[in-house]
Symmetry: C2
Subunit: 304 residues, 2 copies
């Protein structure tokens, strides 16, 4: 099975602590690394947790607050020093452009690759990247500044051929692709062989959603329905709900409700406020609503 692994590089919020770096995650999809958010120290955490810089494919920024962005210049500078020449796609809100250009001109002169900014849309589902096997899309969240979530999913695979049955019916090669796609086979005698006699179901396609930063936002449910793993911010405890409302962040309850409403199989909560040194009470709050919840920590590796 292809790799589908998430490395939590940082799951703190605006004020980093000794326990939690600012936001960043590396998503390994079939040995391509997609970096989601790039808080200060993201490149250092990539090294610490052995995420291969050479495999970095593209970067996705949920929103333009410093704790999700300020690791970007250092990372790009290091990619330059490591000899990267391939362009890098940066999916981010368009307002980043003047600052990023200014910064790269100042600190990364003569960059031998281009950082191409692909602006995130503020409405609906936007497909950002796809190839034969995976699709990455984005959808709006609800924060003080424009903020987007991301969905990483494998495309539905082809059905698996039962080789002995193919031999038995002497099915010609030109028909194999259709059978993998689910078509029945019709013999020279006009007999229909149903597809499920010839194939087994495709490997289940897996998915991961990243939702931070955001207030409680049930609008996103249709976009992440049935997701295997949902990372949702839970900056605050239920007891600090008023602070969550003021700052357009979520409580543990908000995160768990979104997991429940979307039928997620598993929830990871993170982006904890620096006020919480012990996250166990936060976990318990979320588990009351959505039992299959786990707390994020820097260095957590999730295998989907």
């Amino acid at each position: 099975m292809n790799a589908f692994e998430i490395d939590i590089l940082g799951c703190g919020s605006a004020t980093p602590t000794t326990l939690r770096n600012p936001s960043a995650q590396a998503i390994n999809l079939n040995e391509k690394i997609f970096l989601v958010d790039c808080g200060e120290g993201a490149q250092l955490q990539m090294r610490k947790f052995s995420v291969k810089m050479s495999r970095l494919h593209s970067i996705f920024l949920s929103h333009l607050h410093g704790d999700h962005v300020l690791g970007l210049p250092g990372l790009i500078s290091t990619l330059q020093l490591l000899g990267r020449t391939g362009d890098i796609d940066l999916y981010a809100h368009k307002e980043i452009e003047p600052w990023l250009r200014h910064t790269l001109n100042f600190f990364c002169k003569y960059l031998p690759f281009e950082v191409k900014i692909i602006p995130l849309a503020s409405e609906g589902l936007q497909i950002l990247y796809e190839n034969k096997t995976i699709r990455i899309s984005s959808f709006p969240l609800n924060h003080r500044v424009p903020s987007n979530g991301f969905l990483f999913e494998e495309k539905k695979g082809l059905r698996h051929i039962k080789k002995d049955m193919i031999d038995f019916y002497q099915i010609p090669i030109r028909d194999i692709q259709g059978i993998k796609e689910g078509y029945d086979f019709i013999t020279n005698d006009g007999e229909t062989i149903p597809n499920n006699l010839l194939t087994t179901p495709p490997t289940p396609s897996r998915s991961y959603a990243y939702c931070a930063d955001t207030a409680f936002c049930p609008n996103i449910v249709p976009f992440i329905e049935g997701v295997d793993v949902l990372y949702h911010e839970a900056t605050f405890s239920i007891s600090d709900a008023s602070r969550a409302r003021e700052t357009f962040h979520s409580t543990t309850k908000d995160a768990a409700e979104i997991a429940r409403l979307s039928g997620a199989k598993k929830l990871i909560i993170g982006h904890f406020s620096s006020r919480y040194t012990n996250t166990l009470p936060l976990l318990k709050e979320a588990q009351n609503i959505f039992p299959n919840t786990q707390t994020a920590y820097d260095g957590l590796k999730i295998n989907i």
Copy 2:
């Protein structure tokens, strides 16, 4: 005795490693914290090594390469979140101003304090800050871009009164200050009492010099003569001297020569290239020339 402590927060070079963060040091002078260089992750290292953010007095940037600067926006943002209101002095080359203003306007809107830029001079010794007991000055180094070293020193203290002698000669209070400053005392009978009968020498004043990044630069010797502790970059081994010349960095030998020429009491070498995982050979090279050498590491605390 007043505190005079250096916390090495990062002693790596442009490409950080798991062992070494980019450049930053916190200098505690009598419970005021002076931050020298501010590479990415400096604020995280301050937390890790328990350097009190609330005591941060001012910031000194040796030069405007990313590995010495890119931790600044995150640090300022955190100071804002922690409720700082006092202005902060930033001693740096003036070219930082447009980038810094752009960055702070973008990421730290409504900053409740001012970041005042005090430009570093490109010639001679420049006094940057002084109060009753300490003085901080700067002098030019020799790098690919303008780069400055910094000297932190205690001012020469007053001589200590021998209380029993003061009583014996019944010296009036109005004369005490002069005696502490080194004057002799003349009795009512016209007899001169030499100062060294009345006082003991002042507590020795201590000093620390930070020299990075720079090629071998003997011009700095007069500025750091007799320094107690000299931190000098030694990016390269002697065997990589040609690379040091190309990049305007120092070898271990260069650093040790500067320590020897300036009569430093102790040398700390740092800013090691990421190619060296074992720094013991670098230490040996420097010690061949200047025996009292120590290698820097992230988390090293030096008590002067």
